[in-house]
Symmetry: C2
Subunit: 363 residues, 2 copies
């Protein structure tokens, strides 16, 4: 299939073309950026919903229910599940996936899993790019699931219009969640398995925590975060940006943008996904959030920040590729690598030489 | 403390200077690369031992035992524990850490934890840089612990001379381990809690698997992996490098280097770390591995590859910093970002313009 055929296939809404385009983007295969570029004008129609929470919180079942509800309302749904796939626990999520993929017999539903293999920094960009393909294909809702390890939960705000944090009574107390910065990223909190002991207590803790919460989630999106090798979290990143002008501090604009709209108060929705309880309330909360953000201009601002961030990541990726290509600063690079290998130079001195060559235009 | 004082402190082996230098490096604070550059000539004395395995395998207790054994042999030990610190399970490892840090009352032992916050791509570089500081400080052994999420286990071969994979009977069957690529990275396999049911079976499975294993771990180190945003695993990376010349394929040399030394056969060591059983056998296996690698020239080759990889990562980091700095391609960048924001350009078109400007030397 040529890129042209692939684009034709996407525009004629052929599922095979969608699957192929997503694989291309996921693997960074030849021509993937040309596809994304061609689709760029078709973006923005879908609502992107990010769902995160600890393993075992029932996210997949909840997404099944959500998908059913959207289908009943005549909406099409793309689901993108990002698995951290630990070498030690890799197979654990497979059952969920297979179960979920039964829904995909419905042509109005498309389900895709991606193995993140723990590389969450670059994964956020790839996840956003795959969501773009789904958006351009024409899904009304895109649901992005990340399973709880480290940065991935905080990264989800970089790809979603609305972020849902799913907890269960067993997943521990609200204090842990607050400390982890999840209260700041949640637009909607779900207490799933809310028929179990401890769920009332968890809801109360979350509501108390929300009462003392100020501002809203969007101000926590750093202007330029994902492509940073140091891989700081948004909050550490902000601290760093405001810090002593260290290595990571240059060249980030836009962090000053602060929301002036009335802050959204995240509701706490109780669900029992296994029984379908609470799904309507969740759908309604998601609609309310999207409507509020749209009305206040926050949606546009958030999407604008996301686009700027994406651009920076794509630029970084392209510059890195260029650096090591035949068009890049080869003579300086090769000499520097040789000097490091021979013990005449440190990696840091080598990097300085390369940057000096770039500044002189000596590429 | 000025960088000069800090270097003086490190060279006089003052623990406060060590702690400060590590913080500087971990946070990427102003001057961290100058410190690393100054220390570059002092590296290579320490043996670096990487220890990985699933949560609950008893890695920390095993490291305590290993540390005791090294201390009894008159060797100093630096321990670097890299925690993935999930927002959901963040506190779980604290108990181990506090217990381990009791050993640090001994001035011949230095224990440090780093929160990776899941960003494993850049984390491997930072982990290597912190290990460098410990190496320059003069520790005889540096033990690096990573706890099992995704890429981190596979990344550990990028920082360690010897990689130990710790399993327990409960952690599931050997097939899972083989599928996850852990057999390829393990120089020594440990079955901890080997007094529990199922441990004989696990050992047998591992030994059978080792029998069919070919080659050795080092050929799995990709030449340029860590700084790649796409965050592929070593094996996927290799597949990609050999692929159709896609986005990630340019500019990586050295992947062709293949070991010619007789392959090391990883032993399976049974331990009961809680009781101290098997520690001597483990120490002996580690010594044998290091000796074999040193004798065959593999150690030097491995360290050489590691240095080349580090250089590439440091160059990428510096080039990225430069791109967004005042010395970088500002006019082109600003115009491109503006055009994307105004809807006149896609992120991919913007990136192409920046790269074109670099190639023309129009920085």
């Amino acid at each position: 299939m040529t890129p042209h055929d692939l684009l034709d296939g996407l525009r004629s809404r052929r599922p095979a073309a969608l699957a192929r385009a997503i694989s291309l983007v996921e693997n960074g295969a030849a021509g993937f950026e040309a596809i994304l570029e061609a689709l760029h004008g078709d973006l923005g129609r879908a609502r992107r919903i990010g769902i995160t929470g600890p393993p075992g919180a029932g996210k997949s079942t909840l997404i099944e229910r959500l998908t059913q509800a959207y289908r009943q309302a005549g909406l099409t749904v793309g689901v993108l599940a990002v698995d951290p796939s630990s070498p030690f626990t890799g197979g654990a999520l497979l059952g969920d996936r297979i179960r979920m993929e039964r829904q995909s017999l419905d042509p109005g539903v498309f389900i895709r899993s991606m193995a993140s293999r723990g590389s969450l920094g670059g994964m956020a960009t790839t996840t956003g790019e795959v969501a773009d393909v789904m958006d351009a294909f024409g899904f009304d809702r895109i649901v992005i699931e990340t399973v709880g390890v480290g940065q991935s939960e905080l990264d989800i705000i970089r790809v979603a219009d609305t972020t849902v944090v799913v907890l269960v009574p067993e997943s521990g107390d609200g204090i842990q969640v607050m400390k982890a910065g999840l209260m700041e990223i949640a637009d909607v909190l779900v207490v799933n398995k809310s028929d179990r002991p401890g769920s009332d207590r968890l809801r109360q803790e979350l509501e108390v925590a929300l009462g003392v919460r100020t501002g809203n989630a969007y101000r926590h999106i750093p202007a330029h975060h994902g492509a940073d090798v140091s891989g700081q979290t948004p909050r550490r990143q902000e601290a760093k940006d405001g810090g002593s002008g260290g290595a990571g501090a240059e060249g980030r604009g836009g962090a000053q943008a602060v929301a002036h709209a009335p802050p959204w108060e995240p509701p706490v929705v109780g669900t029992v996904a296994a029984k379908g309880t609470g799904t309507d309330e969740l759908v309604e909360a998601l609609d309310r959030h999207f409507g509020a953000q749209e009305g206040s201009g926050e949606l546009e601002r958030h999407r604008h920040l996301r686009l700027e961030q994406r651009t920076r990541e794509v630029v970084d990726r392209a510059v890195r590729r260029w650096t090591w290509s035949a068009e890049g600063p080869r003579p300086t690079l090769d000499a520097a690598l040789g000097d490091v290998a021979a013990g005449r130079e440190s990696p840091y001195g080598a990097a300085r030489r390369v940057v000096r060559a770039l500044t002189r235009g000596g590429a």
